[in-house]
């Protein structure tokens, strides 16, 4: 029986928060990052997560990854043959661009340094441009900013972009996935949460019709935002995805994206649709 990998996409800040909780609970030295590895792995393992994409926001410097994140990512980049940790980590970049030009320049700058590039925007033009880019792995059509909402304790302003059949078709052709995270839903409540939910639900039939891969993840920013694959699947079913679609959204679809990106980085993919499958035809 093939064992599925379960993915999650969490912020680098989440790892720092997790480290501080672990340090407080286990009385570890916060400077000793190597001793944290086991605890962080067991935290994700308890949730049933086997692969974690750590993202930092674009625009911050490379040092935005804390030492803890760097040590996690370094272990996994040196992986291959003798990788024996239960959880694998990937380096992700999340780009929030205001327009297409900003998007293109940010993607060009960040792509070589990242395993996974995600675009978060609620602007239709940016979403379409991101879907059209071969260097973008994931489009998150829900953007949020802090401090604009009123009369609400979690003070988060969330806006959801709309997609049409053209953007969906382009995304399918360019193998760009669309993703939805639970985080904005945890930070809002009442009418605003139902509005975000309704806007996201509207996209699902379009994505389904054009068979665009959908990803579901926690998008956790702090310790208490963490959610497992069970919860992500349930969240997907609330959005209107079928059981098979939600199962693929937390395991198969992200695995395919990572696999595709690995093949591209290995140099065997010359361009889109052209790949070297055998080096020496004379053998």
């Amino acid at each position: 029986m093939v064992k599925n990998n379960y993915f999650d996409y969490v912020s680098a800040d989440f790892i720092d928060d997790l480290c501080s909780k672990i340090a407080a609970g286990a009385e570890l030295d916060p400077e000793d990052f190597f001793s944290f590895r086991e605890h962080i792995d067991s935290f994700f393992k308890n949730f049933g997560i086997t692969d974690v994409i750590l993202f930092r926001k674009s625009g911050k410097s490379a040092s935005a990854f804390s030492n803890a994140c760097k040590s996690l990512l370094a272990d996994c980049s040196a992986q291959s043959a003798h990788f024996n940790h239960p959880v694998r980590y990937y380096k992700g970049i999340e780009i929030e661009a205001e327009n297409e030009n900003a998007l293109y320049s940010a993607v060009r700058k960040e792509r070589p340094n990242a395993d996974f590039v995600a675009i978060r925007s609620s602007d239709e033009k940016v979403i379409r441009a991101a879907a059209d880019s071969l260097d973008v792995d994931l489009v998150i059509p829900v953007s949020y900013s802090e401090g604009r909402a009123q009369n609400s304790s979690p003070n988060l302003h969330v806006s959801v972009g709309q997609i049409n059949h053209i953007a969906a078709k382009i995304a399918k052709d360019k193998k760009t996935a669309f993703g939805f995270d639970i985080y904005p839903f945890l930070q809002t409540k009442g009418y605003r949460r139902s509005k975000i939910l309704a806007d996201c639900m509207e996209m699902i039939p379009i994505l389904r019709k054009y068979r665009v891969p959908v990803l579901l993840f926690s998008g956790a920013d702090s310790f208490y935002d963490a959610r497992g694959p069970y919860e992500c699947e349930a969240f997907g079913s609330l959005l209107g995805l079928s059981r098979e679609e939600t199962a693929a959204a937390v395991s198969l679809n992200p695995a395919e994206i990572i696999e595709l990106r690995k093949r591209q980085q290995s140099g065997k993919m010359i361009m889109s649709g052209v790949e070297i499958v055998e080096n020496d035809l004379n053998d």
Binding site: N46, P154, I182, Y224, R227, G228, E231, A234, L238
Partner: protein, 112 residues
Amino acid sequence: MEPLLPSLRNRKRYIAVVVVSEVPVQRNAFIAAVSQTGCTVLGDVGFAGCGISVLGFENNVGIIKCKHTSVTHTIGVLAFMTMIDGQKVIVQTLGVSGTVKGAQTKFLQKGN
């Protein structure tokens, strides 16, 4: 009143959950939070249709009963729970079983 025949009763599922929090959560607070979040997320009609009820909750571990058709909605409600009694929590689903005994033996006594 004569009890319903087993074939006429609703089929149920039992979800084992664990609450991650800094301070132990009280049973009544957990029940109140489940019903409040359920009504918010699913609406009163949807929550009633799911047949969600908390069977037992002790030491931050509990079992939640729901209809067999609404397991994903119930887990969705639990995923949306962020605060209980004013403190931040994670409600983690351990697994789903068809019997209370199954939920206890498979998920709650596994690590003990």
